[in-house]
């Protein structure tokens, strides 16, 4: 059934044209319940130990499934500028340092503008499956704007999953509405469960018409966060908990936070590094507190990884990001450009893309299983990290010089595991190598033994080799995990034949500043 919706006067004042789209979609028989996933859920491609009903919810959500983030994109709409708490890692005067590039004011959107933008993106980016409201303030400090946006989007683009990210202070008041609107993914930022530690993170909260400060503020915030978490999980809504790792403030305490949220049914825990520079104008930035190193972050994530899934692919993206995680196409969809677009919402084309991804995922899973079998008779205590240059689709398909980031896999005879990503400044800018050569990239990949790329020039290859990082083109355009395992097998053989020496690698830097394409 073809569901073509033509929107003729897209630039005209909002309500009417949106209403037209809504009516046409409704008459074409779409459910407003959301969720188009009709494909078989018994697929081995990434389901792991998840129950089928949970896998069905997360498999196309790039922020909830590491596996999905290779294939699916998300967008955030900045409809929620107001916030009800103050965090020491955020300066609202210059936008939130952890959500947006500091100093650049994102375009604020009305719910109507946001709903149009979602349609515009969904029609030209079939892999866009998720709409999130993540600020730049707190979605639930702007409940009217947030829920109006969801209402408009679910009426016109019923297959798009809705999610929101909140500090949790107002969460208990809105749980029923969240459930009624079929928002089935909620992220709560929980940085502490001990108000004494909270007092070092949150100078104040605004609650019940009062400003609370100090330990009392954090006690109220923590109670509300944990209550909201329990209420959501009791209703079967998936909850991801975000925590900012602040060295010397809550880094050790986050193990306790992890236990507390796990016992209350959180589905996924995402520990992110503090982003802190003086120019962000934040309390931490100005006082000289800095973020953790890559290995400090990984050690904490490893310590928390028990029965609970840890998210390691978070890109700490802008509150108005558009695209695959790690890319930002928001510039293509500015208010002005969206207003001028003619939009066709083609649900069938979107479903066709998603079915294609399903096939690709199964191929990846099969290839990985086959490669793991080959590794089965190897035994070795060696464990290395391998960096990958990729632009999506789960393949080694990016040139070294064009990579904005590298994905990091840890590999041993037990198999390959994604452990994070490293954002870098482009090596190759407009055809010329960066002024400081590959130095900053080497610092970002310093804990890796090799980097797998589609292609690399001689200069950076030599610079990497000097730093003890082997640049490998052999696996160009192959599946990532298969390539990592194959490389590791080859590495072990070379160590065994004494062609190379295994060297334990050091630590690496985490690039500061949120990702922007510009």
């Amino acid at each position: 059934m073809q569901k073509l919706v033509q929107l003729l006067e897209f630039g005209a004042p909002g309500a009417k044209s949106l209403e037209e789209i809504r009516q046409q979609v409704a008459s074409a028989g779409c459910s407003s319940k959301g969720g188009s996933g009709k494909s078989s859920c018994g697929s081995a491609a990434g389901q792991g130990d998840l129950p089928p009903e949970v896998w069905e919810k997360v498999k196309n959500h790039p922020c909830y499934s590491e596996q999905a983030h290779h294939h699916f994109a998300r967008m955030h709409v900045a409809v929620a500028p107001a916030c009800n708490i103050q965090c020491n890692y955020c300066n609202r005067k210059y936008d939130c340092a952890n959500e947006s590039r500091p100093g650049v004011v994102s375009e604020k959107l009305t719910p109507e503008q946001a709903a149009k933008k979602v349609l515009a993106v969904a029609s030209s980016v079939p892999q866009m499956t998720v709409l999130g409201v993540a600020g730049p303030g707190d979605p639930l400090a702007n409940p009217q704007k947030t829920f109006k946006t969801f209402e408009l989007v679910s009426a016109t683009a019923p297959d798009i999953k809705l999610c929101l990210s909140t500090n949790g202070l107002s969460l208990p008041d809105h749980v029923d509405r969240i459930q009624a609107m079929n928002v089935d993914h909620v992220t709560i930022t929980i940085n502490m469960i001990d108000p004494e530690i909270g007092a070092k993170i949150y100078p104040w909260i605004f609650y019940n018409h009062r400003r609370y400060e100090g330990v009392e503020a954090s006690r109220i915030l923590s109670e509300r966060q944990l209550l909201g978490l329990e209420m959501l999980t009791a209703r079967g809504i998936l909850v991801k908990v975000n925590s900012v790792m602040i060295p010397g403030v809550n880094d050790k305490h986050l193990v306790e936070v992890n236990k507390a949220v796990k016992s209350r049914g959180a589905f996924l825990h995402n520990i992110m590094p503090l982003i802190s520079e003086p120019e962000h104008g934040t309390v931490y930035g100005l006082s000289g507190l800095r973020g953790p190193s890559a290995q400090e972050l990984k050690a904490l994530q490893d310590a928390c990884e028990g029965e609970m899934n840890m998210m390691r692919h978070c890109r700490q993206c802008r509150a108005d990001a558009v695209g695959l995680l790690g890319e930002d196409r928001s510039d293509e969809f500015s208010n002005e450009k969206v207003a001028a677009m003619e939009i066709t919402y083609d649900l069938e084309a979107r479903k066709a893309y998603q079915a294609k991804v399903e096939l690709e995922r199964e191929a990846i899973a099969k290839a990985k299983t086959a490669e793991l079998v080959k590794l089965a008779d190897e035994t070795s205590a060696i464990k290395i990290q391998v960096a990958i240059a990729t632009k999506g689709g789960g393949r080694v398909n990016e040139h070294f010089g064009h990579a904005h980031e590298f994905q990091i896999y840890e590999v041993s005879t037990a198999g390959a595991k994604f452990v994070g990503h490293r954002r870098v400044d482009l090596y190759c800018e407009g055809g010329y190598a960066a002024a400081d050569g590959a130095a900053t990239i080497i610092r970002a990949l310093n804990d890796c033994t090799a980097v797998l790329v589609a292609k690399i020039g001689i200069c950076p290859k030599d610079a990497l080799a000097e730093a003890g990082i082997e640049a490998v083109e052999t696996y160009a355009f192959e599946f990532i995990e298969t390539s990592v395992i194959a490389y590791f097998k080859d590495y072990l053989q070379r160590v065994e034949k004494k062609e190379i020496n295994h060297v334990a690698k050091g630590d690496a830097d985490i690039r500061q500043g949120a990702f922007t394409e510009a």
Binding site: P81, A82, C83, N84, Q86, R92, K93, K108, P136, G137, A141, N142, Q144, F206, H209, R210, R211
Partner: protein
């Protein structure tokens, strides 16, 4: 007196607008403003001025000394 918003510091985050018990706050020219004729400094409503309490930029919502003191009805 009433409160006023110092425009150069206002981030236009809109947090104050719905909190005002007198619906005195409005957006104009990209920032928010307080209508001094409607502002009661939250007297009789709350213990603290709501715009001051919720504003993320300290010293942005301040007493406007250029207008007469608000007189609570007897």
């Amino acid at each position: 007196m009433a409160y006023k918003i110092i425009s150069s510091q206002c981030t236009a985050c809109s947090a104050c607008e719905p909190e005002c018990p007198n619906v005195a706050i409005f957006e104009k020219g990209g920032t928010f403003h307080i209508n001094p004729k409607k502002c009661t400094e939250c007297l009789g409503h709350f213990d603290m001025a709501q715009c001051v309490a919720v504003c993320p930029v300290e010293g942005t919502c301040v007493i406007d000394k250029s207008v007469p003191r608000y007189q609570a009805p007897a």
